[in-house]
Symmetry: C2
């Protein structure tokens, strides 16, 4: 007999449309992800992600980065808000702000990001456009732990898709999005099951327990 | 009725074990690649690739780069040897010398290379070790046109494989090798069929003709 594992206490940061947020909320709602979305934070007024949180009955805060003196002050506010609700893991679900060590150290080894390329190729913004412009035949998405670099953290999972000859950045992004959604939720399931380990930069995914 | 396409007149440069060379020779021998291997050039005495050429009855020359005053002189000798046998396309099949414009301009848009990573990730030497050290979950191989950079040329095709948690550079390289062999031969089939186009850095693969 094993102790029942607690549900993952999640904070989710989003800037935009919130499709990755929606994928997480759907999986929780469907009972396929043992997590509680404790708080969704958006940093831009009017982000669709905020509506998605509200529609799902998940607590939401708008912390507008423009209201803070600098990045450190903004990041400290993020940390306070997340700690206040007991969030233990943080998902950057299309969160378009670079985080400082104030945030990264507070949730070290417990913050994950999804990026729309096969890192280390095409870090930073407009990854799909970078991929189309370079002319790669395969691209994909990467879920990784967040470290102090831009999209440089230890990789947890990656999934590839083909770039088609007719693709432009928009069509590629549209085809990649559902793959991102699935990969992010899968990784959260592994984390919720206690299967993801981080040792220096090495990520281990242990086998599913047979219980 | 269409004119019969001529067989691809290939020159193949190799430095090492020559497994990619062998894959090409096997495909020609099996009749699944409409090409003639006009010449195999190796640049190191004792390279296994030379034995493979000789065993297959394909002309072979050893051009030892150490016998030449500089890179330009070596490259000029390569070009002379390839032109002398009527080679029209050149395959770098594990050829470990950087080529100068003397060579690259002579076979511009007609020289391809196979590289054991999903470029632009992990260019240069020891790509499999770079991938393991970085901790990527997917890597693969890339066939690309050769340009003046190191593994920066226009990409023709890529194929991905998973990196396993237990992989070291050797086990990863061993699992990747048959994928490289297949991809390289597939690309040569497309070239032999006249399906590969290059327009600036954009590579097009046209549909198989129905004839």
């Amino acid at each position: 007999m094993t102790a029942k594992r607690e549900r993952l206490k999640l904070g989710i940061l989003a800037s935009g449309r919130g499709t990755n947020l929606q994928a997480i909320l759907n999986a929780i709602d469907a009972g396929s992800l043992a997590a509680d979305a404790r708080l969704v934070i958006t940093n831009k007024p009017g982000a669709l992600a905020a509506d998605r949180a509200i529609d799902a009955g998940v607590p939401h805060q708008l912390l507008n980065h423009r209201d803070y003196e600098n990045r450190l002050a903004f990041d400290a506010a993020l940390v306070r808000a997340l700690r206040a609700v007991g969030a233990e893991w943080v998902v950057l679900a299309g969160f378009m702000r670079l985080l400082t060590p104030v945030f990264i150290d507070a949730f070290a080894g417990r913050t994950i990001n999804i990026h729309p390329s096969l890192l280390p190729a095409f870090p930073g913004v407009n990854a799909q456009k970078q991929a189309v412009d370079y002319g790669v035949r395969l691209t994909g998405c990467t879920v990784h732990f967040v470290d102090k670099g831009t999209d440089t953290g230890p990789i947890i999972a990656q999934r590839a898709i083909e770039v088609r000859q007719a693709d432009d950045p928009d069509s590629l992004a549209a085809r990649l999005l559902p793959v991102e959604n699935d990969l992010l939720v899968d990784v959260l399931r592994w984390i919720a099951a206690g299967r993801v380990g981080l040792h220096d930069r090495r990520v281990t995914i242990s086998a599913e327990s047979p219980e």
